[in-house]
């Protein structure tokens, strides 16, 4: 018996459109997802004041009164300053009285959020430059490169003592 043997070939699937399908999926994900990571200034608020809590007396010399008025004018202990000067003021204040200083923040209800954000930015900047200097001096590396333990040590060395007035004056 002669049977013609020819190799059976599996018919090839046409896969040209797979690329199109996966492109469509890709574009779908690009549209529906957001690449931008949440960024911002991380701050810790003080716990709510207790009823029977006595307001602690603080020496006036150790207090830095930062205020923002309705026209977004930044004042520091009563004299008008800009954010750079504020950062410098905070730095000198903290260096003089590391553990006893207090920064009080007062805002008006009409103050714009941007001005407030810029002020917070300046405060964070002042503290982080001090902590950076400390990290460089004692650990010989950047604050960012320090491990959690070293960071806590640095943060304890330069504590942030900020008291915020949330009443905000007249509504």
């Amino acid at each position: 018996m002669f049977r013609k043997r020819y190799r059976q070939q599996i018919p090839e699937l046409n896969t040209t459109s797979t690329a199109d399908i996966s492109f469509m999926l890709l574009i779908f994900f690009l549209v529906t997802s957001s690449m931008d990571t949440e960024k911002g200034l991380l701050r810790q608020m003080a716990p709510p004041p207790q009823e029977q809590q006595q307001p602690t007396e603080v020496n006036k010399d150790h207090v830095l009164q930062v205020a923002l008025d309705a026209s977004n004018q930044l004042t520091c202990n009563g004299k008008p300053v800009d954010v750079k000067q504020l950062a410098d003021e905070i730095k000198t204040m903290v260096m003089v009285n590391r553990e006893g200083h207090v920064i009080t923040i007062h805002t008006d209800r009409q103050t714009s959020y941007e001005a407030y954000f810029k002020m917070q930015n300046a405060i964070v900047g002042a503290y982080s430059s001090l902590r950076e200097a400390y990290a460089q001096k004692h650990y010989g590396k950047h604050y960012k490169a320090c491990n959690a333990e070293e960071r806590t040590a640095i943060n304890d060395y330069y504590p942030q003592r900020i008291s915020e007035d949330l009443k905000g004056g007249e509504p």
């Binding site: 200034l41 805002t107 964070v124 949330l166």
Partner: protein, 152 residues
Amino acid sequence: MRPMQSMYRRKRRHVPSLNMASMPDLIFTVLFFFMIVTHMRSDEVKVRLEVPQGTEIQKLANKASVVNIYIGKMGKKWAVQLNGDIVKPEEIPARIEKLRAGLSPENAEKLTVSLRADRHTPMGIINDVKNALQQSYALRINYGGIEQNDAK
């Protein structure tokens, strides 16, 4: 040297086709990359806002314990949006309580509020919101902002 082709026997030469078999694989790789690095937009932002710029901003880690608050303009008025819906500042403590109950204990402890407010929001609204947050012991606040360009 190639022998000269006869004028009558023209062989049709065509460009060899590219093998496209690996193309889908490639695109799938890109797709998976995007699926991993991005996260779905969880809630629609109903208010119009533009966050301020700063120089000291950091990335916000641990998305599981983040509560989003958006403050911006809705039409002509200022509105506060907590995660998905518009709320009044007075309602925030109850909402936070509810959200906190839904989190695991370690995430509830690290509960962070991502406050994304418009640049021109008056501080009165923000202070009301912060007061509400303080009452509900949600004390970690992330003031949303974008990196300032130093080009200027």
